[in-house]
Subunit: 240 residues, 2 copies
DNA sequence: ACACTTATATGTATCTTGCATATTAGGTGC
DNA sequence: GCACCTAATATGCAAGATACATATAAGTGT
């Protein structure tokens, strides 16, 4: 029996299978705070609760492709930094049936975040507050624009907590911060992103020096315009 | 319609679903090198190739539980540090059918590694060589005990590379190294583990001081016995 | 007793980081 | 035009972390 014959006889229905979905944490910085885009559930279960946008993975679709499709369909977004986060597979995480969810982290610039809100008005921008426990990953609080604390559907609060923790962890050794910034940015904007994600203030000269020493920043020679005071130089991210 | 009625009518067969499996990277240190336990495939596809032990996720089984079960069934192992690694979901990663694999990293002490070999003689201990490119994660070479380079089945080489990279990345800020060591160990053994995982030599006094400063090591007052020369003190890992 | 080898301790130069302070370059209001 | 305000940028220094060299200690084997 060769491989082709084998495949003909293989019975792919032998086992009962779980459904597989992707859920997206659409993350950006708004008003100096991390923010996430949520959708309101209009079906049972958890009707009326806010949830992460997601969708089932097609049988002929890779996980990354499914995540990119959900990004397009649910956030009207063509481009964003997308990275796989973690896979959530508790048996009872969805009361309808067994659904395994592969969570993805999508990082949006402030501009992309607003564009998504414009394209999909049903999306809710919610502020994220993370206690500075860092280590184990304390409970994350999600606030509506009216400062109401939201209870997310399913295990989405845990997914969001994982996302924030991962982002914090990767912030200083990877280039994720630049995915949250426009093409051109000032060092102060870069620091603001870091401070928002870390939820802590950083020393300015030290931050500036460390960032420049990494060799990832290319000075453009251009400066911001219309600033009330001395304009800062604009930098561009450039892979080492 | 309330939630209970809704669930009755929900049709879980509406979409064609992928199969979900877990694959385990059973990792230990042997003779100063990272090593992985492999199984020989006795079925198509990829008959005769070496693969990571794995199994399908039961419909009433969480991902973590499935990983623990595979650890028990395929490695005869009750205890080991188990952590989810990454989920591999390319459409064509298995020619039989669509299988999404949630990869787990299992860290074994040298003792547990040998015990697994004893309990499951079909397992092959293969040495892993990782180029010191670190960053992007170069190609990983897997060597049989006879120093033959092995070609792993499916995308298991990529899974293994991800495991090694993750381990390297977590080595100095987490406690993973202790999962590779017995209950009591010397500072030299701890350094040997770090050097094997990193594939690089480390400065002894600096390593020793940094480890002790972390506050994770509890001196036992006991010393190794039978050492040819001055015996080293035994330490125990103790969560901060 | 001595050689041998590794564990452990210490000292110093170097590099990194945090923080304070100075200087620069705009805009704003008179 | 000119003083003033504020934030960007630059510099200086102390504290901390790290790499590396060297010294001392504690066992075994001859």
């Amino acid at each position: 029996m060769n491989e082709t014959e084998f495949l003909k006889e293989y019975d792919p229905t032998a086992f009962q299978r779980p459904s597989v979905a992707v859920d997206l944490v659409l993350l950006g910085i708004r008003d100096g705070w991390p923010a996430v885009l949520l959708v309101k559930r209009d079906q049972l279960p958890h009707v009326g609760r806010w949830a992460l946008p997601g969708g089932f993975v097609g049988i002929d679709e890779s996980l990354d492709a499914a995540a990119a499709r959900v990004l397009r369909e649910k956030a009207g977004m063509g481009e964003a930094h997308l990275e796989q986060l973690y896979t959530f597979g508790a048996v009872d995480r969805d009361p309808r049936m067994r659904i395994i969810s592969v969570a993805y982290l999508a990082l949006l610039t402030e501009q992309a975040f607003d564009a998504a809100l414009g394209a999909m008005p049903a999306l809710l921008p919610a502020a994220i507050q993370v206690p500075w426990a860092g280590e184990t990953g304390g409970p994350v609080t999600v606030l509506s624009p009216e400062k109401q604390e939201l209870t997310l559907a399913f295990d989405h609060a845990a997914i969001l907590a994982t996302a924030m923790l991962r982002l914090r962890g990767k912030l200083d050794y990877s280039d994720v911060a630049f995915a949250l910034l426009p093409e051109l940015f000032t060092l102060r904007q870069l620091q603001d992103v870091h401070e928002a994600v870390l939820g802590a203030a950083l020393n300015k000269p030290a931050f500036r020096r460390r960032q420049l020493d990494k060799g990832w920043l290319a000075a453009t020679g251009a400066y911001e315009v219309g600033a009330a005071f001395r304009p800062a130089e604009l930098y561009r991210f450039q892979r080492h």
